[in-house]
Structure formats: C-alpha cells, structure tokens
C-alpha cells in the first residue's frame, strides 16, 4: 500500500462554481480514494418554506435553484394542482412549457460553456455564454426576469405572451441554432476534446441503475428516465418529444446528450409556440384557494428528475420536501473519480453537473426522532 497525500478540490477552487469539498487521496497523480464534504452552502430552504400561503411558497420555492427555477415551479405546481384538482387551460400549460424548455436550453448552454472551460477551451466557453445571453434576453421579454422568472401562479400565469413575444423567442432560437450546430460539431470532432473526454468517468448501466442516477447522466448510460416522456405533465401532453440517449456512459457521451437536448428543446419550444391557442388569455389570478391536502409531484429539471412533496394545512404549507436531481447523482461523485488522473478530475466532476446549493439538506436524527436544523443553528453548531 502506497502512502497517499490529500489533494483538496474545494471548497474554493477554480473548477468548482459552488462550494463542495472533494478530498482526493492521491498517489502520485492517480486518485486512490475520494471523499466529499458538504455543508458550505446550506440555506435551510425547506424550513423557510413552512408556514407560507401556497402562492407565496411557490415564489420562494423557485429561489431554490438559480438555474432551474422554472422546474421547481413546475414540480410544485404539478403537486399542488394535482391534489387540489385545479384544471389549467392549454395556454397556461404551454406557456409554462415554453419557459421551462428555454430554461433547459440556457442551463445546458451554461453547463457546456463551463465544461469547455474545464477542458481549457475558453473560446467555446465565451461563445456558449454569448448564445445563452440571447436566451436570457428572451426571458426578459417573456417573463420579466432574467433568472428567477416568477411567471406562474396556481392555476394561471402572470402574463399572456403576445404574438410578438413568441415571434421574438422563435427568431432568437433560429439565430442561435446555426452557431450551436457548428459548436456541437467541434465538440464531437475535436481531437483534443475527444482525447480528454472519451472513456473518462465511465459509469456502467448497471451502476447507474443501482445508484438510481437521474437526468442526462443516466441517459448517457442508455436509461430512459425522462419524466417528460414517462409521465407527461402540463403542456408536454400535447407535444411530441424524443428522449436523447446514448450508450457509452462516459464524459463525452454526457456532453453530447446535453447538447442534443438543446436542439430537442428548441424543437419543443417551436411546437409549443405553434400550438398556443390564438387570442386566448390567461385566467384571472385567484383561480382557487387551496386549504387542505398533500401530494407528490415530479418534473424534469435540466439535471434530472426534480421531486416535490407538499403538505398544506389550513391554507398554509406545513411541510415541503424537495429532492433535487444533484442529490440523486451526488453518490456517484467519489465513485467516478476513483482511479482517474488528477488532470481528469475537473472534467469528470463537471460532466456530472453538480448544483450544490440546491441540494444541501440537513436532517439530524436523535433517538429515532428527526430534527431539522436551520442554517443559523448550523452556523452556531448547536440547536437552540
């Protein structure tokens, strides 16, 4: 047994965009063992969501993630509208899908850019970010906010998208499509990128099933777990979509799955824009006051399945449980980097697409009775 030394990746490191402490025990340059340490970005989201009115909690739940805020909206609304039996008109359903799919495009482009930065190709990072900026301008026009859209309410939406808005969205997508095809070709065919990505961070189909991976990571291992396909919700019932799958299961496959999903999402936005009933408007705000009930719901976030449990008592949320996709994929982090070279660690970690601060939860179990700690208490290190 060789002596290993600690090589820290994080909590502050240029290859991580969020605080995650990956302790790599290296022998020379090979990673022998990996342990990850969390808790640097814990915010007590679930605790903050308790005791709020449903619409208010909806706006707070979007703030869970800075990139996939609409997907949290979709999952929360799917849950709430499911158990309260609120019917939503086609227009609202499709408007939500348009925002969600544009968000998937912007999330994947951001991810692709950061991935290229990890590989040392800053040019494509800048180009992907440039295309993403145009998508953010579309959000600006459609929903009023660039990142946290806050465009939906229970049973309705805040704005009726006008014809000009939809045309603007479609023309923007057209303008970036050509560039993205060219960049995808580069990613697929560039020798150095292939050399760095192919066969790195390999996850077998069996492992993916055993660990219960979700999202593009699982789809790159040939597992179809797309919530949009398996249990369609809202506007997805009206649209035709294929889930993108590959069989290789390495970093390169994950990159290509995400880039292909961008084109699929563009296709979905086009379909949704054409199917929106012309001349219809969204219902007026208080569609239904929700007093009692509980239920579960899932939506497909850019990173995978996003699961919500919501319990409402006397018009206020009593408990909201969020399971973000990174929580499902995180278990694979130490496994994937074991045996890799230090050079490949940033690439492998990035190819799993961590979104740390959405995921951090704390449940302390004492004497068989579970407790929830707030961020303040965690910071102090003791429970009041």
């Amino acid at each position: 047994m060789h002596k290993t030394c600690l090589f820290p990746i994080g909590p502050q490191h240029p290859s991580l965009k969020e605080p995650l402490f990956l302790k790599l025990y290296v022998d020379g340059t090979t990673v022998k063992d990996a342990v990850f340490d969390l808790g640097y970005a814990h915010r007590g989201v679930e605790e903050k969501l308790e005791g709020k009115q449903v619409d208010t909690a909806l706006h707070a739940v979007q703030r869970t993630c800075g990139i996939c805020s609409q997907c949290h909206t979709m999952a929360f609304l799917r849950t709430v509208e499911g158990f309260a039996e609120v019917e939503i008109p086609d227009r609202v359903a499709l408007q939500r899908v348009i925002v969600a799919e544009l968000e998937r495009i912007h999330s994947h482009l951001l991810w692709a850019g950061v991935m290229m930065h990890e590989l040392g190709l800053d040019t494509l990072f800048m180009y992907f970010m440039r295309e993403r900026e145009k998508i953010l301008d579309v959000f600006d026009e459609l929903t009023g906010n660039r990142v946290h859209h806050s465009s939906d309410l229970v049973g309705t939406s805040k704005r009726t998208f006008s014809e000009e808005n939809l045309q603007f969205a479609l023309s923007t997508l057209d303008s970036i499509k050509e560039n993205l095809i060219s960049y995808r070709k580069t990613v697929d065919s560039h020798d150095v990128i292939r050399d760095r990505c192919i066969g790195k961070g390999l996850i077998t189909k069996k492992d993916a099933k055993t660990f219960g991976l979700v999202g593009p990571v699982a789809r790159a291992c040939n597992i179809n777990n797309d919530v949009r396909v398996n249990s369609p919700y809202m506007g997805y019932k009206m649209l035709k979509l294929n889930s993108i799958m590959r069989t290789e299961g390495d970093a390169h496959a994950r990159t290509l799955v995400r880039l292909d999903e961008v084109f699929e999402s563009m296709n979905l936005v086009e379909q949704a824009c054409n199917q929106i009933p012309k001349g219809s408007v969204v219902p007026k705000y208080p569609v239904k006051r929700i007093a009692q009930g509980y239920g579960v719901g899932a939506s497909e976030a850019p990173r995978g399945e996003n699961f919500h449990f919501v319990k409402v008592v006397n018009g206020k949320t009593a408990r909201v449980k969020l399971r973000t996709p990174t929580l499902a994929n995180l278990i694979m982090f130490p496994e994937a980097v074991k045996g890799a070279d230090i050079t490949d660690v940033p690439v492998i970690v990035m190819s799993l697409d961590p979104c740390i601060s959405c995921m951090e939860r704390v449940a302390v179990v004492k004497d068989g009775k579970s407790e929830v700690w707030t961020s303040h208490e965690l910071f102090k290190g003791e429970k009041k």
Binding site: G120, D122, T123, Y127, V192, D195, D341, P346
Partner: protein
Amino acid sequence: MIEFVLAFAFIIISIFFAGIFRKFIARMHNRVGPPIIQPFYDLIKLFSKKTTKYKNPIFHAVPYASIITSIVIIILISSAFVGTDSLFDFDYNFLVLGYLFILVDTFYIFGAVASRSPFAIQSSMRELLLMLGYELSFMMVLSIFFAKTGIVSLADFDVEFAFVQAPVASILLVLIGFVIVRITPFDVVNAETELSAGFFAEYYGKDLALLEIAEFIKDLAFGLMAGLLLFGKVFALPAALGFVFFYALMQATSPRYCTFRTAKIFLIIAILAFIDLFLLV
C-alpha cells in the same frame, strides 16, 4: 552600455505584449477585452499590496532570483541586436541563453516546493516530467540553428530567413514555445482548472508581481529569440508580434492535453530533434 537601454525598452514592451495577447484573445472570443495597458494596472495593484506572512526564505527569494534571471536573458538577447562590441557577446552564448530559460523554470520549482501547496507541488511534478522532453530538445534545436549556419554567437547571427535552411528545427522550436510561453494544448504546468495557478498558487502581492514580470519578459525573450533565429535580426520584433498572434490563435482554438499525452509528445519532439542534429553531424 546600449544593450542595457535596449533591455529596459524590451521589458516595457514585454508588458505591452502581454496586453496585446489579451486583446487578441478577447477579439477571438468576440469580446471588447481589456485595454492594452491593463497589465500595468494589474502590476500596480499587486505592488500596492502588503506582504504580511513570512513563509520560508527560499519561497521569498524565488521571485527575485527569477526576475534577475529573466533580465539577464533579455540583456543577452539585446546584445544580439547591438553588435559584436557588446560585453555579452561571447562564443557559444546561445547555449547560456538556453540554460537560463531552463533556470527560470527551475527557480519556479524551488518556490513551488517551498510553498508546500499541493497544487504547486503537482505543478512542479508536471514541470519536471515535461523538462525531460523539452529541455534537451530546446538545447538541441538551438544548436541545430547555429551548426547549420556555422555561427558561434548571437551577435554574429546575421542570416535572414534561416527557417528555410532548418525547417524541422523551426517547427520544433515553435512547438517547444508552447511549453515555455505556456499555451494550450501544452500548458499542463499551470492548468488553471485543476491546479488553480500552478507554481504561483501561494504567491501574492509584490512576489506575484515580480513573478508575473519575469513571465512577461521570458515570453518576449522567447518570441524575440525565435524571431531572430527564424527570420533574422531586422524582422525579430515584428516576428515576435506575429508569434503573439499565432500563440493567441492556438490558445483560442485548442483545449488542454492531459499531462502524460503532453509528456509523450515532447518525448517524440526530443527524438526528432536528436535525429535532426545527428543527421547534421
């Protein structure tokens, strides 16, 4: 005396060249980019910082050692432009130049190991691995140029467009430049994404400023030397600017190879240089 004035001018130019490099990169990224005098602002900012914690005598000596070495490099290079009456014009001074280039990197390794940062130590391990490939081939390539033309000192090197005479050596020199100037795909030594800043991970303030100036000077010195060898004295400075553009283009179009792939490529380069030199003899 005049070579000192010329060297001082080259030091100022080297900082401008760093700005020009960033501007080129920015334009290739379709950005506006920082102004060309941005490196000056950065250095002023770094010099204004206080050094608070004393680490290790070697750690603090390395920036001074490396900047002095780079200044000697640039004086040697400027002596080539001054002529044969220069103080630094002696026979086989190109070999000294080659050693000095390696010496700067060796100082970096000392500093990196003295800092005890795991990133810097990984970086120095990689540098040592690459040195096996590029150090020897660098010396051999320099020798090829002087052996082909039959000249023994830099100041006497008055051949123009020598790359026609030694095409293989010219290509190898440009490839070795990727490591010396630290450009993708061969910049594994200070790979930003996994090693933070490589050698310089623990440096800050004045020490970092001195190291950065040393890097700038070394980059320009390499550009001038390659320009001198490939295109001749008159075209050395324009050729150096051309190299800045070429390396910026390479930086913009290529990701980073992994360490072992880079080491393998440089082993092949060393073998090629050896064959080229062997055929000459």
